[in-house]
């Protein structure tokens, strides 16, 4: 089985978000970058599936050399090799088109990624890639088993779960609890250094969308404290002041 896992390199979930150059650039100063948490779940399940079924596991990132530490970490966790499409990702469509281009050449059985990146939260790249390749896509997948070339998986739906069965190939957006995050061990870290990281140029395409400017939300007003013994007052305030009841 040939598995491709697409990962994002994103600011840590606790990072302070700010912008520079007249609010047109993300301020990377002092920000730690990580593998997208959802992508990390996808990667962990992919490593388990490779252990069970054999085959190959390639990790892919669309990004600049700034992503290399996250790609090396993915190799240390258990990917066999990596591809980095050397470009600044501009939007979901662009990223999906780059992934689809690579996938078309390599015919993977399974393409996994996180349900969404935690920087732009679009949650559409798996669907775009699936349609571009003409294969089914599902998200968010929280359980995945492969038996005899068939995938059995569970998808979270509004207020519950849906259990599906489908033939490969598939594109899946993953989330917990599909697997436990894996922490690379020393041997993994050592071998990751010699695993291939192939840097390939991006396929040019027209910009369908252009990001013009970033803004930060308006600062939150004071929190109005209500004494516990007057808790009932809250209901009146929600009704008359906040007007949300």
């Amino acid at each position: 089985m040939k598995i491709l896992v697409c990962i994002t390199s994103v600011p840590d979930t606790t990072a302070k978000i700010s912008f520079t150059q007249d609010n047109t650039q993300f301020n990377k100063t002092g920000v730690q970058f990580i593998i997208g948490p959802y992508d990390d779940y996808a990667l962990a399940r992919a490593v388990e599936l490779k252990e069970q079924h054999g085959g190959s596991l390639t990790v892919l990132n669309v990004g600049t050399s700034d992503s290399d530490p996250q790609i090396r970490k993915a190799l240390a966790i258990g990917a066999d090799d990596a591809i980095r499409i050397d470009t600044e990702p501009t939007d979901s469509y662009f990223v999906a088109a780059q992934i689809a281009e690579i996938a078309q050449k390599n015919s993977y059985d399974l393409i996994l990624m996180g349900r969404e990146s935690i920087d732009f939260n679009s949650g559409v790249v798996h669907g775009l890639v699936g349609e571009m390749l003409g294969i089914p896509s599902y998200s968010p997948v929280m359980k995945l088993e492969i038996t005899d070339g068939k995938a059995e998986f569970a998808r979270e739906i509004d207020g519950g779960k849906e259990f599906l069965e489908a033939d490969l190939p598939l594109v899946l957006g993953c989330q917990e609890p599909i697997a436990e995050w894996k922490i690379p061990n020393m041997r993994g870290i050592m071998t990751a250094r010699s695993k291939p990281l192939n840097v390939v140029p991006a396929t040019p395409m027209d910009d369908l969308t252009v990001l013009k400017k970033y803004t930060l939300p308006a600062p939150k007003g004071e929190c109005k404290m209500i004494a516990a013994e007057d808790a009932e007052q809250l209901i009146a305030l929600l009704r008359t002041e906040a007007k949300v009841l």
């Binding site: 519950g160 917990e176 109005k224």
Partner: protein, 321 residues
């Protein structure tokens, strides 16, 4: 040329978030001098679909093939693309949800359309077509210009304040050509708590954290939710500990919600939890720890024991009815 809005149905009625999307779509239609057409897929009475008219749609296309009764993003995207072609639409709109994003993505790839998900405001069409979207899980916003001929917008809850009128929409049967390949996956089973209010659709959410002390102590929270007609959620530790089902987990790696009122009970307010609720209009925090970081993000706070405060709030809600 009309703006087309894909809506989700729940038990034959248009979901609330989709009604908001219709209103959003009708405003976009007004500013681009065209009309708003709704596409509804699945079984529904004509009277329920006419509701779309109240939120500004002129026409509803209703695709009601039995094969489409089960939620299927592949087939729905295919049906939507056919509706777009029939109507000559250039702008496609839907509410943000798992299904909304999935359908939006597939239809955007079919039509080579620019796609923006998480839109929080009406577009600026004064020069070009620019929308504002939430990024970094609501910690920032970006304005994005769409240059593509066809545009797909996935709209977040509360992007517009929807106002209903007495207008009505015409309902037409829409009979798309279905592809077998869109039905290749077999649905083995669906586990769904049918009585529950949907978290993403709820106006009020009452949510509990570790301060609720265990799975057996949830009644005071459920009773308040019941009195308020609210949906219930929980923090990540609570769903990790299996005190509550995973689909209630709100936060960075769970569901992102944007209700009018979010009441957090015994949740300290880790940054990852805040990321899931920062779209809420009004946040109430009840926690016995006055230093809980959640108070900094709250509009109203009560420092107190949830097991004392919650029953009294429930009584006050009942008394005010």
């Amino acid at each position: 040329m009309s703006v087309i809005i894909f809506v989700e149905l729940d038990n034959g009625s248009i979901k609330k978030s989709s009604l908001e999307a219709i209103y959003y779509g009708s405003k976009v239609a007004e500013s681009t001098q065209t009309t708003a057409t709704v596409l509804a897929i699945g079984s529904a009475e004509e009277s329920a679909l006419k509701e779309a008219g109240k939120f500004g749609a002129q026409k509803v296309l209703h695709a009601n093939d039995g094969k489409l009764s089960h939620e299927n993003s592949l087939a729905y995207a295919n049906v939507l693309a056919q509706a777009v072609e029939q109507e000559g639409s250039k702008i496609i709109i839907m509410a943000k949800s798992g299904l909304g994003d999935a359908v939006a993505a597939r239809v955007a790839a079919k039509l080579k359309a620019g796609i923006v998900s998480g839109v929080t405001e009406l577009p600026d069409t004064s020069s070009g077509f620019t929308v504002t979207r939430a990024i970094y899980t609501g910690k920032a916003f970006a304005s994005v210009e769409l240059n593509s001929d066809t545009k797909v917008l996935v709209v977040r809850k509360n992007a517009v304040e929807a106002v209903a009128t007495e207008a009505s929409a015409s309902v037409e049967v829409f009979a798309p050509t279905l592809q077998d390949s869109d039905f290749a996956a077999t649905v083995k089973n669906v586990e769904k708590a049918s009585s529950e209010l949907s978290l993403t659709d709820a106006d009020i959410i009452v949510s509990g954290g570790r301060g609720m002390k265990g799975p057996d102590h949830w009644d005071p929270l459920l009773e308040l939710a019941d009195a308020l007609g609210a949906a219930t959620g929980c923090s990540k530790p609570v769903s990790d500990l299996d005190w509550r089902p995973h689909h209630e987990h709100i936060g960075q790696t769970g569901i992102k919600v944007a209700p009018n009122l979010y009441i957090a009970c015994g949740i300290s307010g880790a940054i990852q939890h805040l990321a899931g609720v920062n779209g809420s209009k009004c946040i109430v925090v009840i926690n016995k720890d006055p230093e809980a970081p959640f108070f900094k993000a709250a509009d109203y706070g009560i420092v107190g024991d949830v097991f004392d405060v919650l029953p009294r709030l429930t009584k006050a809600v009942e008394a005010a009815k």
